[in-house]
Amino acid sequence: MLMRDEIKGAIEAILFVRTGRVGLDEIIDILEVPLFDVIDIMQEIMAEYNVPGKGLMIKEVNDGYVMCSNPEYSDYLVKMAEPQKKRLTPAAMETLAIIAYSQPITRAEIERIRGVKSERIIANLLEKNLIAEAGIKAVLGRPTLYETTEEFLRVFGLVSLKDLPPLEEGLDVV
């Protein structure tokens, strides 16, 4: 049986190794520790980490946790050249923004908002793994729906879609 401090250390290590969210269920599976204990220890870990000035943070997302940097230091981290930074054209960014804020959404809906054919841009975003297919819309023609991916969150520095900057006031996205 693991000691409390060992569980803490192991969870830290697990969150560190994974780029992205680790489910609560995964932690329980890996450590074979009761749910109640994990939740309790997670509270303790998060209280230790999420303190102003600390370099790392731990955020809760959909019954799981993500380790990430403290946004206070984003000015410095930007300066670290990441291999193959993904450059997107303004047209691709525009399309991605529509998908991010209106997901899941079909190509026809995107094209109606943009006023231009967007097939090639969508193919490009799919290829970059920033968006993914998200099933079929139950309307005539059964068009494919698109949504953003985990990679999208990673590239744009979001823990979850809730972190998307709010859209301009006074106008609702349908």
């Binding site: 560190f16 780029t19 992205g20 943070m57 955020k59 993500v66 380790m67 990430c68 940097s69 946004p71 206070e72 984003s74 000015d75 981290l77 930007v78 990441e82 291999p83 997107l88 303004p90 047209a91 960014m93 525009e94 991605l96 923004a97 529509i98 991010a100 804020y101 908002i113 943009r114 006023g115 231009v116 054919k117 990679e151 990673r154 590239v155 744009f156 520095g157 979001l158 823990v159 972190d163 900057p165 859209l167 301009e168 106008l171 996205v173």
Partner: protein, 244 residues
């Protein structure tokens, strides 16, 4: 007008319109359609090496604007002399679309800033699985086969189109359009006129021909309700849009 910005740098017709509205410091809720349409048309006339596929989308907007311009010029009934209500204003749909589009355009700028860390953001560990050896790949041969099968099926449905090397003559297209419009006294939908054309150059030439005919007032384009659904009439025949 100085053409500082090339048409190619606009992502689409709405983008160009927003630019013109901005440049002229126009109130988006009260767009002088005639003036904006003229400027928009001027931009289109200097397309240069423009991507023809994209041009098609710009031209659809052009036809729409011209129809809107015509509609705005129609004399109103006496009781409508005061301000138009939102429902009556033919510009309402365009304004809605522009506002909606602009919202996402701004969101895109925000996202870009987020990506570049100009807004405080989280960073995650570099994802080294992206560089993992191909041994880590999972793949299914049946999916591969099915994909190829579907591609072949799709490819065999599309007739091969050879793009002619010679430019399609806009003048010829003007004659064709006039002939068709003369034949359809009740009007013909522009998209029906275009249907059957599989060649992008031919489509673009047709649009240009139509625009020229409208400029010469030989053909009138009327937009009925739906965005983009444009009906063509012989010039001067169809005086009252609302009756049509």
């Amino acid at each position: 007008m100085d053409y500082v910005v090339e048409l190619d740098s606009f992502h689409g017709p709405l983008d160009l319109l927003l630019y013109l509205i901005n440049e002229n410091q126009i109130d988006i809720y009260d767009i002088p359609i005639a003036a904006i349409t003229d400027q928009y048309m001027e931009y289109l006339s200097i397309t240069g090496d423009f991507d023809l596929e994209k041009l098609g989308d710009f031209l659809i907007m052009a036809t729409y604007l011209l129809a809107l311009k015509t509609q705005m010029m129609l004399p109103r009934h006496a009781e409508d002399e005061e301000e138009l209500t939102e429902e009556q204003d033919p510009r309402t749909e365009l304004v809605q679309r522009l506002l909606y589009y602009r919202k996402f355009k701004m969101a895109a700028e925000k996202l870009e800033e987020l990506k570049d860390g100009k807004i405080r953001r989280y960073f995650f560990r570099e994802d080294d699985t992206r560089f993992s050896p191909p041994g880590e790949l999972t793949a299914n041969i049946n999916i591969l086969t099915e994909l190829f099968y579907n591609l072949l099926k799709k490819a065999q449905q599309i007739p091969r189109v050879e793009i002619p090397q010679d430019d399609i003559d806009v003048g010829e297209k003007m004659k064709e359009i006039l002939a068709v419009v003369r034949k359809h006294r009740q009007g013909i939908f522009f998209k029906d006129f275009l249907s059957g054309m599989i060649n992008k150059r031919e489509l673009a030439a047709s649009f240009l021909a139509l625009l020229e005919l409208m400029r010469l007032q030989k053909v009138q384009a009327v937009q009925e309700n739906e965005f983009g659904s444009i009906k063509l009439f012989l010039g001067g025949r169809h005086k009252n849009v609302n009756a049509g």
